[in-house]
């Protein structure tokens, strides 16, 4: 048993030092296939996709939460969005974008990530807006506020922490899933994983995974900070 432990420890050290070497190699940091370029591609496609998700989901959720109309849509769209695998969307969109001469992997990935980003933003915004105390809204109405004012001055600020949490979940999931872009011949950090797998270079696979996880964690932490700022402003 002691022997097994030593082997596992030795193995772990071996991988760690190979990964360390990989990160120290200047060749992995330069040019269009280096870490900074791949990182930029990854961030670019993730933010673009979540931006489009927000442009669709945010107004829809605000409207549904404010008017309390068509509420069933939120649950059904969120469920459907979770049920459709991103991998399948990539596969479906690829032949279509090729036929439309829009290039290979970029748009299929954006569409898959856009759909992935919708459920968290939609559900959280809706739950936040819809959960604002009815008495508070009635008091605001009694003071002569219009529907738009209630939404802007009351519902959105009160729902802000939940809305930010929705963006956070969406972005973290999208960053982790943007790895799939490499499967359809686009860039991003997934390239290190796919190319590393193709040539059996474990250090490169691990480096790619570490970079994606680090990016997702960075997004999570900075959003946590934003969320706290919103909460502080409210409690004053």
């Amino acid at each position: 048993m002691g022997e097994t432990q030593v082997t596992w420890f030795g193995f772990l050290m071996e991988v760690l030092s190979a990964v360390f070497e990989w990160f120290r190699d200047p060749a992995n940091w330069s040019g269009s296939t280096g870490v900074p370029a791949r990182m930029f591609e990854h961030i670019y496609i993730s933010f673009l996709s979540v931006g489009i998700s927000a442009a669709v989901a945010l107004p829809a959720a605000l409207y549904i939460g404010h008017t309390k109309r068509a509420e069933f849509l939120v649950t059904s769209i969120a469920n459907l969005g979770r049920a459709i695998p991103s991998f399948a969307i990539l596969a479906i969109m690829l032949p279509i974008t090729i036929r439309m001469r829009l290039g290979l992997g970029f748009w299929p990935t954006v569409i898959a990530l856009f759909l992935l980003g919708i459920p968290p933003i939609l559900t959280n915004t809706y739950v936040g807006i819809q959960g604002v105390d009815a008495d508070t809204i009635e008091a605001a109405r009694g003071m002569g506020m219009t529907g738009g004012q209630v939404l802007r001055k009351l519902e959105i600020p009160l729902a802000a922490p939940l809305i930010v949490a929705g963006f956070r979940t969406a972005l973290v999931q999208v960053i982790a899933t943007a790895t799939l872009a490499a499967l359809v011949a686009w860039g991003g950090l997934g390239r290190f994983i796919i190319d590393g797998f193709a040539v059996r270079d474990e250090a490169r696979i691990a480096a790619g995974a570490i970079l994606v996880a680090a990016l997702a964690i960075a997004a999570e932490l900075s959003f946590g900070l934003v969320q706290r700022l919103f909460a502080v402003r409210l409690h004053r």
């Binding site: 469920n79 695998p85 479906i92 959280n124 739950v127 499967l183 995974a209 994606v212 964690i217």
Partner: protein, 225 residues
């Protein structure tokens, strides 16, 4: 051109010819999902109950399972293959680790939602800690817990398709097949069946939960975050 303009998106005779293979892959899909959510629950349940009783643990547990959640599935599978091979084990290690965050968070949230008065009343009536958990806290936490199981199941069913890349995949096999051959019929068939399976499991769990907790009138929305 790779895809001929006149080619229909869905060729029915392909589906008819491959119906037994499709059924086999569906069974594999169901099995991979059931094992992943089952093992996920076996791990999450004791961890969540323990963290609920020792509250300082909730932070580290959420942090760790959240860390697992950020590891891209593709990288995890690629990294495990040299050691566990193109096997069910490789797939399940990934699938199980992605269920943990959702399940633990919802079990803790469900237990947290039990009204303090109810808990006190039960303790006042002489319930032991174990009776309190099994007879009061768990039944009341069930709707939120099932909401977590539903999200975990639906997410897992989607993720199973990715395991096609490591020779598993269930219905994802057809998606990869179509992607490699630029043939849309298997992609669409695999996707539609996978989505239908996810929605059926989701609905079945909801119906089961409502039957088990008839005192809950309003449905609890399943929250992802």
């Amino acid at each position: 051109m790779i895809l001929a303009q006149g080619e229909p998106l869905l060729e029915w005779d392909w589906i008819v010819r491959h119906s037994s293979q499709i059924f086999e892959r569906f069974l594999q899909h169901a099995e991979l999902t059931a094992i992943a959510v089952g093992i996920g629950l076996l791990i999450s349940f004791p961890v969540a109950v323990f963290a609920y009783r020792h509250r300082w643990l909730i932070g580290p547990v959420t942090w760790f399972t959240g860390l697992l959640y950020t590891i891209p599935s593709l990288a995890l599978f690629a990294f495990l293959v040299p050691y566990t091979g193109l096997s069910t084990t490789t797939a399940e290690i990934g699938l199980v680790s992605y269920t943990l965050l959702i399940l633990i968070r919802n079990i803790v949230a469900g237990l947290d939602g039990v009204p303090a008065d109810t808990r006190e009343a039960a303790i006042g009536m002489g319930y032991t800690k174990r009776q309190l958990l099994w007879k009061v806290e768990l039944p009341l936490a069930l709707p939120v817990m099932v909401a977590g199981i539903r999200i975990a199941s639906v997410t897992t069913i989607g993720l199973v398709t990715v395991t096609a890349l490591i020779g598993q995949g269930g219905l994802g096999y057809f998606i990869l097949l179509g992607l490699r051959r630029f043939f849309s019929t298997p992609i669409i068939a695999g996707t539609i069946l996978s989505v239908a399976f996810a929605m059926t499991v989701d609905a079945a769990l909801l119906i089961g939960q409502r039957a088990l907790t008839p005192w809950v009138r309003r449905k609890s929305p399943g929250l992802a975050s």
